[in-house]
């Protein structure tokens, strides 16, 4: 069961489910993440590999490693 933060640069995957508390799920959904969406890891930060920039369709979203860990993905 892999999570969004385990993606490598340029790797794509599909969102399967949300984990973590309901407030985190709400925030992730509100900004646009949904089950079935394709995501691609674009860039990562220098320290600790955080934050991550993620392509979601044509939109780019930024989130921390801990936040990305709440998104379960499956290989495309």
């Amino acid at each position: 069961m892999s999570r969004l933060h385990s993606l490598k640069r340029g790797q794509k995957a599909r969102i399967r489910a949300f984990h973590g508390d309901s407030s985190m799920e709400e925030a992730l959904r509100e900004i646009g993440f949904a089950e079935g969406d394709e995501v691609e890891l674009l860039e990562r930060g220098l320290v600790n590999g955080s934050p991550l920039s993620i392509r979601l369709d044509r939109t780019i979203l930024a989130l921390r490693k801990s936040e990305a860990a709440c998104i379960e993905i499956e290989a495309d």
């Binding site: 925030a27 992730l28 959904r29 369709d57 044509r58 780019i60 979203l61 930024a62």
Partner: protein
């Protein structure tokens, strides 16, 4: 001109005679282009509407539709949905529901057209509120440029409300929207979707994905340029290097670019003072005008160019899409010192002025992080301190070189660094005091890079200039007159004047810092605004007999102050708690007198100890 008159008459008054103005609200995600559309529709003429009782400041502007309907347009803070996680988002939601200010007659729901697929869910969420609305697909020109094709009819059919496409910067791009507004207003019931309750965010997402799969007929990959630029600008190493280079350029430009206009302003003000002196008879009116008003207000006005240069860069960074990247780059670093990347934008604004910085902290969802950001915002060296720094450094620090750098510039840089380092320490302490509250998420959109719109830039700069000049014209003007009076009466000797009496009463507190009576007197009006201290020193020494030119003030300072005193004064101003407007905003934003006094006390204590240590160390080293 005709636009402003009706605005003024129906402003907040319920009596709207024959001509009823409609209230429209702009609703959308943070980067959907609300500001550009607002400036395009209203011509940039906006006022900040203040609603008493609640902490809200909203931009409002007026315009007339092609059919002659009068419109009041509200620009609401950006939201992604209905959850209201941050203060800003709650304000927007309350305004939509009419709990703040005028209930909007019609919502203009902005959707970022190039990103329709992931943003369409917003339209479904707003629609569930059951309020009259028009969906506006903004930046349609950018969508077309990228090859995104959208079927408006399909969207309209499913959403059941009008859908129009706009490109906000151009007049032609806004025509469809104006026509839609004119068609909508006579029959608002037709545009009111049924209210839906109990639906989950997941439902809205499913609906939106289904519709966008149908309505987006062609969709290429993401914006190429953005991807290429991000590979450099968000690069773990080169991204940080570029970021530091940009910051360095900004601070260099604040000094280099502003030098010439400042010189011009300075000589204008000086010749105005000298001109008045030759024209007017030598009496108290001449003294009030020249020593009080021109010396006081003039010494502050000349810093307008620097403030505009700083805001020029802040606005460019915001409009181009770089600001969000800066927050991205700083996030992990700032997390380690107890803050986070989201605090970067409020703190950067605080370098211009703490007030917009403190208000910008509203975007933060975590109350603990918002409070911490507010508490340290005054430690970022605001532009009001620049006059003080420049005056003292110019008078006391030799213009020699240390290696390739000028010594004066290095001292200035050190003062900025001192503020930042203190902020890090204070943030660390505050986090301990406030405990482990809810963690602030980073979660934000990185907008695709855009060419900044000239109009938005000019409108932004003009509103900054207005705020600054209004302060100079009201607060500083008043303080200059009051101070002139206190310094001039009774008798012409500073010590025996009212100001001298006040100064001598509180002088013992400042004696250990090496501050003389003139400094103490200047600190008191400095409470109104930090830059007033310069004007106050100008007035105090002008009354004392020194001339009103800046060379005259330099000479007076050099004669009256020792070097340790000057350094201690600089150290004091790194913390300088005395700015009433900032304290008033802190009181309002935290809704707590205790927090405001707490901030005052901690800044005062830091200022006192920093000045004390600086004075003692300098005294010991310099003899």
């Amino acid at each position: 001109m005709s636009l402003e008159a009706p605005l003024a008459t129906n402003e907040k008054s319920n009596a709207r005679p024959q001509e009823k103005a409609f209230t429209l609200a702009l609703v959308g995600a943070p980067n959907a282009g609300k500001t550009t559309l607002f400036n395009g529709l209203t011509g940039g003429r906006a006022k900040i509407a203040n609603y008493p009782g609640v902490t809200v400041e909203m931009r409002e502007g007026g315009f007339t539709t092609p059919e002659g309907r009068k419109i009041v347009l509200q620009d609401l803070p950006g939201i992604h949905g209905l959850s209201g996680r941050s203060t800003d988002a709650r304000i927007a939601l309350n305004a939509i529901r009419g709990e703040i200010g005028e209930t909007p007659d019609l919502l203009l729901v902005l959707i970022d057209a190039p990103n329709l697929h992931s943003h369409l869910q917003f339209a479904f969420q707003i629609r569930s509120l059951g309020l009259p609305m028009i969906v506006v697909l903004n930046m349609i020109d950018l969508a077309k440029r990228d090859g995104v094709e959208i079927d408006l009819d399909a969207l309209e059919k499913t959403l059941g409300v009008p859908v129009v496409a706009t490109s906000a910067p151009r007049k032609a791009g806004r025509e469809a929207l104006l026509t839609a507004i004119d068609q909508a207003l006579p029959d608002l019931a037709r545009l009111t979707p049924p209210k839906e309750t109990g639906r989950s965010l997941r439902d809205f997402q499913l609906q939106a994905r289904q519709l966008s799969a149908k309505a987006v007929t062609a969709e290429p990959g993401m914006h190429r340029l953005t991807r290429t630029l991000d590979a450099i600008l968000l690069h773990p190493f080169f991204g940080l290097v570029t970021f530091l280079a940009i910051l360095f350029l900004v601070f260099q430009a604040v000094y280099a670019w502003a030098e010439w206009p400042m010189g011009v302003l300075d000589s204008l003000i000086t010749s105005l003072g000298q001109g008045l002196r030759t024209v007017l008879p030598d009496n108290w009116i001449e003294s009030l005008l020249v020593d009080g008003i021109i010396a006081g207000v003039g010494s502050v006005i000349i810093f307008l160019p620097q403030i505009l240069v700083l805001f020029f860069f802040i606005l460019i960074m915001e409009m181009s899409g770089y600001m969000a990247r800066a927050a991205f780059l700083m996030d992990e670093l700032m997390l380690r010192v107890g803050l986070n990347g989201r605090a970067f934008i409020p703190l950067l604004s605080s370098f211009a002025c703490a007030i917009p910085g403190i208000m910008a902290a509203r975007v933060m969802e975590s109350e603990r992080d918002r409070l911490t950001t507010i508490m340290i915002a005054p430690l970022m060296t605001c532009s009001a301190r620049i006059p003080v720094y420049i005056l003292i450094i110019g008078a006391f620090i030799p213009a020699s070189n240390v290696g390739p750098f000028g010594l004066q510039g290095l001292v200035m840089f050190a003062l900025y660094v001192a503020g930042i380092v203190s902020a890090v320490i204070v943030a660390f302490v505050f986090r301990r005091i406030l405990g482990r509250g809810g963690e602030q998420s980073l979660l934000m959109e990185l907008p695709s890079y855009k060419m900044p719109q000239l109009r938005d830039l000019l409108v932004g700069l003009w509103s900054r200039a207005k705020i600054f000049l209004r302060r100079a014209g009201t607060v500083i003007f008043t303080v200059s007159i009051v101070l002139w009076f206190l310094v001039s009466f009774p008798g012409n000797d500073l010590r025996s004047s009212f100001a001298g009496m006040i100064g001598r009463t509180i002088e013992p507190i400042f004696k250990p810092l090496g501050f003389n009576l003139e400094i103490v007197i200047a600190l008191v009006p400095g409470m109104a605004a930090r830059e007033v201290a310069v004007g106050a020193l100008g007035t105090v020494y002008a009354i004392d007999g020194a001339t009103e030119t800046s060379e005259g003030l330099y000479a007076a300072l050099q004669a009256g102050w020792s070097l340790p005193t000057a350094l201690a004064f600089l150290a004091w101003y790194v913390y300088a708690p005395q700015c009433i407007s900032t304290l008033a905003v802190v009181r309002r934003e935290t809704n707590s007198w205790a927090r405001m006094w707490g901030m005052t006390a901690y800044l005062f204590a830091l200022a006192w100890f920093a000045a004390f240590i600086t004075y003692r160390v300098a005294l010991a080293l310099l003899g």
